[in-house]
Symmetry: C2
């Protein structure tokens, strides 16, 4: 008999079906036993009264994989209004070890490190699983929105020949006996690809050898990158991002039923100097986490928005490829997007003329040679362009109220952790 | 004036428009000059007669980025039936170097190594660009097909703590002062995620320290991975792949107008032993490239199919997690898919019981400890499952008749090349 999913049970009421999944919970009462089977979509309640089947159930540990053939029977008290009666149980994989923590409670009681040590099990919990489903939906929405806006997906090298982008925090690879580096972002490549396809995006891993152990940083995370040519300035980039976020949140709600905040048709924006004034901070060239939090509260209060753009960061703290604000070259056409007071996107307009790159690198005391492949793109003609990068795990964690970004990814990598 | 694309010109006939792009070619005739502007979607022909504009055009090198405001005028001889007349040209980025090769010919005359050295330029050629657009469409079709079949996208670690999967061909990373490795595939992780989401897919980079310099191998390539639980055996996996390939090819044709071969409703399949008989080879445990080519020709001749499954490879040449054929345990429930006589997919049913893994690793003389995080998934209950991995660049190269897989990726990595 063809297996059906837990979510399809109700439409088979009165008929025999076969379900399959993991033993989520057993409740062995005196006169009856309940078997809760978990599949990827939900739970099914199986009622066991027949002695031989009960004996079989008693011998099966939680997380064993079973196939159950039974009759769908209406029961208003059961989850979803139906349960399965008169079951025959076939064991697909029997578990014979004690679980390190209970799986059937609404939230896992194990600490985050314990969950991460036992990822193969912990991720099966519906709450942990939900974060991964939200991440998948966010990513799908990102691609849909960009494809609609004529962006083309690219795949760029994750092993690069020189550690040029920021210098610090780079992992070194033994590349056939010589040193190479893991890419900290697809920044240079996505810019080059603007010269080829005008508008590009990439969803892929980026690598940061973060020496600090915080709740916001991972050594590998998923970056949702986009870059677009023929822009007037950073505001065209912000508009494309704004539209993209709207599709991401609607896709999440559509696919996972998780409520998402309204993305305003035009996300409010404040300049860096205005932002300093709002939070009463002095100019250190960037915003501290507590200032970002205060700005998040301000945006809700003043604009009824959980999203806030901060534009015009000082040039001195932005990367060399940042385009200055033509009205005041101490400030940039770069922006951050705060979501509930946390920076989840960095973006901006980039330099597009070869001479400007030579000047910017020279001013930074950098040799040109390691940048040769990148600079070639500008030497051979590049339009005004800009883009952004969204940190997927940060976005999902903020959306779901997960305190530590490690809880929003399946197998996190950090200073102390490289397994499982 | 809002910029329009080359492909939208005809619907603006008789009206002034603004286009923008790269100077693809200039033809400076005596009485008239032609400017061919390339954008991401096509070419536009601009007719220059006015002396000042002609002088401006003469001063501009190929690949300079320009914005042209002009009137759309019908001309049956022009590409697309229209050209632009009475232009005003605004320069967005001027190029002042000689190009290393001509961009305006139907095919690039430069050798592949020269193209790769100058990737920022060479990829702009419509033929090179088309391969990247096909890759993007193939990937989109892959995701569409799998999402329809209830697969969920995952993102797995690319830095792993032990070099367990094959041993050979692994890149070592300096991970905060201790050795770690670049993942050769998401195999272990996608299997673990079957325990969480039942059906999963990942599109991401994989890394192979290939010491051989062939036209078929890359040190980094894009793997289209899928894994599904609750299968009867490998044939369920092959059916899901078959359906996925159909959506991939139709998406390619829909998005890029590139003709794709028919994917049969049921791709023909031969067993490994039948395959040996067909090509008259002896059993070395695998098929040599020339045998794969001969099988490709046989499939066209006998089944009118450019795709062919080969099933039941000997266990001795498949990885330890391969599920044996229950009818003869010397052979496996593993398969390859040949496309035009080249293996582009490897897949199969996997072991799903903990004890079978312990036995398989022990038989291979492997210690269990490095596999602990992986084995935990089976210890805690896993359904019968299987999956596959498609090599994206190989598939695109084969589809487009690109002889070297490096021509089907933007910035290839190999034994000798780690830039640009």
């Amino acid at each position: 008999m063809q297996r059906i999913l837990s979510t399809q049970l109700a439409r088979h009421t009165g008929r025999p079906v076969t379900i399959a999944g993991w033993i989520h919970r057993r409740r062995l009462l005196k006169s009856v036993a309940f078997l809760i089977v978990r599949d990827a979509h939900g739970l099914s309640q199986v009622v066991v009264t027949e002695p031989a089947t009960r004996a079989q159930l008693e011998s099966l540990a939680e997380e064993s994989v079973v196939e159950v053939t039974a009759t769908v029977t209406g029961n208003e008290q059961a989850p979803g209004g139906v349960e399965l009666t008169g079951p025959a149980i076939r064991v697909l994989s029997a578990v014979d070890v004690q679980l390190p923590f209970d799986m059937h409670r609404p939230a896992l009681s194990a600490s985050l490190p314990t969950q991460l040590d036992h990822a193969a099990l912990a991720l099966r919990h519906p709450a942990r699983r939900a974060a991964l489903q939200v991440a998948a939906a966010a990513t799908a929405g990102f691609r849909t929105a960009l494809t609609e806006q004529r962006f083309v997906e690219i795949h760029t090298p994750k092993i690069v020949g020189s550690s040029t982008e920021t210098g610090a925090g780079v992992f070194t690879v033994d590349y056939f006996g010589r040193p190479a580096y893991l890419a900290q972002s697809p920044q240079f490549y996505k810019q080059l690809m603007v010269g080829v396809l005008e508008r590009v995006f990439e969803v892929g891993p980026v690598f940061r050898a973060e020496p600090s152990d915080t709740a916001r940083h991972l050594a590998q995370y998923t970056s949702l990158d986009a870059e677009m040519g023929f822009v007037a300035d950073h505001r065209d980039v912000m508009a494309a991002l704004n539209r993209t976020l709207g599709v991401m949140t609607s896709t999440i709600t559509e696919r996972t039923r998780v409520a998402t905040p309204k993305v305003p048709a035009e996300i409010p924006a404040v300049s860096f100097t205005e932002a300093l004034r709002i939070v009463g901070a002095r100019d250190d060239g960037d915003l501290a986490p507590e200032h970002e939090r205060a700005l998040g509260e301000w945006a809700v209060r003043e604009h009824d928005s959980e999203f806030l753009f901060v534009t015009g960061y000082p040039m001195r703290k932005r990367p060399f490829y940042t385009h200055p604000d033509p009205r005041d070259e101490a400030y940039s056409n770069g922006f951050d997007l705060l979501f509930r007071g946390l920076e989840i996107v960095t973006g901006g307009q980039r330099l597009h003329r070869y001479d400007d790159y030579v000047a910017a690198l020279t001013a930074a005391g950098e040799p040109l040679e390691p940048y040769a492949g990148y600079l070639a793109g500008f030497r051979y003609g590049m339009p005004p362009h800009g883009g952004w990068a969204i940190g997927l795990e940060r976005f999902v964690a903020r959306l779901l109220g997960i305190a530590n970004v490690r809880g929003a990814t399946a197998f996190p990598r950090d200073l102390h952790r490289c397994t499982p």
